[in-house]
Amino acid sequence: MGASRGEQRFSSFVLPELDALLRLALSLTDQPADAEDLVQETLLRAYRSIARFDGAHPRAWLFTIMRHAQANTLRRRRPVLVADVATVDGPADAAMPDVVVQQVMGDTFDAVVENAFTRLSLNDQDVLRLVDIGGLSYADTALVLGISEDAVTSRLHRARSRLRDRLARSGFAPKPRFRWQGALS
């Protein structure tokens, strides 16, 4: 009783991406249980739309589904207050002040990175999630975000430079010799 061609395609596409999907979901949610639910919802949506998938860029396809699923979940919970993840460019809120982070977590490299990450704009957090946490190529990240590869490069450089600057100010890295001066987009 073999699987149909569509079913074979589905598991062959998604099983290699489970780790990356869960990693991305954990970075998007507050609780591991919510992350697992988000991955399940993504898999279900992917299964139902597999016939429309051309087989190219499976990780980018799944990440796009996940982002939409998460945006819908946030809109259901806070329909008025939460803006679409893809369009917000301002600083993320609810970042702990440095002094609180130091008191609670100690002055560690990881704590500084984590706090600096929460202070980035949502667009910058997005690109770091997809490339650094999700392992997407620049081309696939551009597909997921609906922007050019140049824009991905630019946002990534900006986001990493900001984290790096924070590390330098906290004494965890030397001051950068050159300021990155790419175009912002």
Binding site: A3, E7, F10, S11, V14, L15, L18, D19, L21, L22, R23, L26, S27, P32, A33, A35, E36, D37, V39, Q40, E41, L43, L44, Y47, R48, F109, D110, V113, E114, F117, L128, V131, D132, I133, S137, Y138, T153, L156, H157, R160, L163, R164, L167, A173, P174, P176, R177, F178, W180, G182
Partner: protein
């Protein structure tokens, strides 16, 4: 002295170029020839080598802050199986679905 100044200027320009390409080098996004050029420079330049180490640690930190629970992966594999055997119509979402 002129030669030394010229050498220092040439090296600085090479560092400036390397720094603009470091992110793409780190992510494996450069063509082979440019990758080799940057790799050769980084191997030879203490400060650029330090710079790329900072970015490597930064990326490791970002990834490391999301440890993967293996029991969740096991449940998700089972979920994929249920999607395929159930046609996606009867599967419901919830972390406490029984296997």
């Amino acid at each position: 002295m002129i030669l030394r100044r010229h050498g220092a200027t040439a090296r600085m320009e090479s560092c400036r170029e390397a720094v603009t390409l470091l992110q793409q080098f780190l992510d494996g996004e450069l063509d082979r020839k440019t990758t080799h050029r940057v790799a050769a420079h980084v191997a030879d330049c203490y400060e650029c080598g330090l710079e790329i180490d900072v970015y490597r640690q930064l990326r490791k930190s970002l990834r490391g802050q999301v440890p993967l629970p293996q029991d969740a992966i096991t449940r998700l594999r089972a979920f994929v199986d249920r999607c395929e055997s159930g046609g996606g119509g009867e599967v419901t979402i919830g972390s406490d679905n029984d296997l």
